[in-house]
């Protein structure tokens, strides 16, 4: 976490864009190497395709979380918005018999609407993002339960869309969902890197006063970030639906911490303005590699907590050291 400070001579090198994903990447490679050696069955294409599939839902959420954290915000309501959105799509498409496309659009719309509300409360009423999204978590949590009557909605066997399908490459099956996640990461990376609003997001987290004084419509930008985040939670909801084959009222309770963890492991500063969405992808994958690798090693679930804790700290320490070297 780069401390907010007027002067940061010693740290500035770390913010050069080309370096910021190098550290996490080294950590990812080290972890992969470790498990290749010590975890039987790890070094298989099917293991990697599995890690990708498992990462897809949190991955899409973490994209949105990265955008928000870059603006020096935070979103605790992400998982719950996803849960509500998936419930809406599931109920409308399966139980009410709406056309699939319409149900999906409505679900995405619900996500975007709640995201927009977050954004409005944060920018116009000027409330801390932590509080707004924590409150929203509670509110949406209740809405999900009331709306779903705490019952899950199973999907038809073939899913709603092509996202449920899988395809084989060299004998390993990949899901279209994980492709979609990768595509979204790429798009967001290009967006942040190459478009004017993308650069403004960095500037906003870097020095909000500079953005204000430079005449960028700061509020509109921030609201649109939260709205797009809500939309992405809707996409995550669709991936979740297709992946687990149903809408579950229990979904969405841990995704906030998981996505923030991926963002921070990926080298983005919680204080905003510094970081890279590709780092987040690596962060998501690091967590997935740990989970898979430890299971394949047959580590008992209690000890998995122990080891995961140590490994997460080590991963970020590797990142730190590789930065200090360069």
């Amino acid at each position: 976490m780069t401390q907010p400070s007027t002067t940061m001579p010693a740290k500035s090198a770390a913010s050069l864009p080309n370096l910021s994903t190098l550290g996490p990447l080294i950590a990812l490679l080290l972890a992969t190497l470790f498990f290749m050696i010590f975890a039987p069955n790890f070094f298989k294409l099917s293991t990697f395709s599995l890690i990708l599939q498992q990462a897809s839902v949190v991955g899409v959420i973490a994209i949105a979380q990265t955008l928000i954290i870059l603006t020096a915000g935070i979103d605790l309501s992400c998982g719950m918005i996803m849960a509500l959105s998936s419930m809406v799509i599931g109920k409308l498409a399966v139980e009410q018999g709406w056309p699939v496309a319409l149900a999906i659009l409505t679900g995405l719309g619900v996500g975007a609407l709640i995201g927009w509300l977050n954004g409005v409360l944060i920018t116009l009423v000027k409330l801390p993002p932590f509080i707004v999204t924590l409150g929203m978590y509670s509110i949406v949590f209740a809405l999900v339960r009331i709306y779903s009557k705490a019952t899950s909605v199973p999907m038809p066997p073939d899913g709603l869309t092509f996202l449920a399908q899988r395809f084989a490459v060299f004998g390993a099956t990949f899901s279209y969902g994980s492709l979609l996640m990768l595509a979204l990461f790429l798009l967001t990376w290009l967006y942040l890197k190459s478009t004017a609003p993308g650069r403004h997001i960095y500037a906003l987290g870097n020095n909000p006063e500079a953005v204000r004084l430079s005449g960028i419509p700061q509020n509109r930008l921030l609201i649109s970030v939260y709205t797009v985040a809500g939309l992405l939670y809707g996409v995550a909801a669709l991936l979740l639906l297709e992946r687990i084959g149903g809408a579950s009222p229990e979904a969405g309770q841990t995704e906030n911490l998981e996505s923030i963890t991926a963002v921070v492991i990926g080298g983005t500063s919680l204080f905003g303005g510094r970081g890279n969405v590709l780092g987040t992808l690596i962060g998501v994958l690091i967590v997935g590699v740990f989970r898979s690798g430890l299971t394949l090693m047959g580590v008992d679930s209690v000890y998995q907590y122990l080891v995961t804790g140590i490994l997460i700290i080590l991963a970020v320490a590797t990142d730190q050291f590789s930065r200090r070297k360069s």
Binding site: T47, K149, A150, T151, S152, E250, T295
Partner: protein
Amino acid sequence: DQPIIGLITKTETNPFFVKMKEGAQKEATRLGAKLMTAAGKQDGDNAGQVTAIENMVAAGAKTILITPSDSKAIVPAIAKARAAGVMVIALDSPTEPASAVDALFATNNYQAGVLIGKWAKANMGSKKAVIAALDLFPGHPVGIARHNGFLEGFGIKGVTSKTADIVNTGVACAQDSFGDQAKGQTAMENCLQKNPDINVVYTINEPAAAGAYQALKAAGKEKSVLIVSVDGGCAGVRNVQAGVIGATSQQYPLKMAAMGVAAGVNYAKTGKKASGYVDTGVALITNKAVAGVKSSDGKFGLANCWGQ
């Protein structure tokens, strides 16, 4: 004056407890009682339950129904409530010691595990079983009871209802599912990766079973692997009928809740407290009955299931 009855469940999210709440609400409306509800933030949130007990006593509840998250740690708070003249009934799982509450309306989770264990064993016959266990959460008593019950039923030696830890002998892969469908699926995927020969899957509840099935289906193994589970919710029973789950041990949360509310109303009217242990029962639901294990079919299951 309406009698006030408090119901404290483990969580707000698990459908099992949500249905228990609905059952209690229905019974309370029927008997003209006022129901107050509260829940822990998550499984194991003992402090939240203590707070709920205190607040309900302050609100004037004369009966408190509770599904204890931590069977031991909740005892002092219950004792305080009882000292204030409140009747406390444990639902679903007992306190330790069991005498800490006035009465227990519960199901035997260990027995539920034994039933599906026996059924699975009989189904496998002489085939070599490679077992995966999708558990609840590290160190969770309900998870331990069901898991170990399953193993005893399956014939693994050295497991009893007194065993305090998850026993992992004879299990090829044990993972936590948190009773959640998505996490159950992830756990199953990783287990299959670890050992593709898995052919029996014990799951802590039916959402986890649905997740396991999804993972097996993706691997093209849904036909050759046996899934057993516990709960008996309507969605779960439908999955039994669809062949997703081989067998499930059905429990009756609505019954527990309704009995609890009735006892509370009775206490308010007559001053007579309920006492002792009432087993609300567990039934094995399967469409593939096997010899030597008593079971009911899916139709019975659907008629008695909770939820929708």
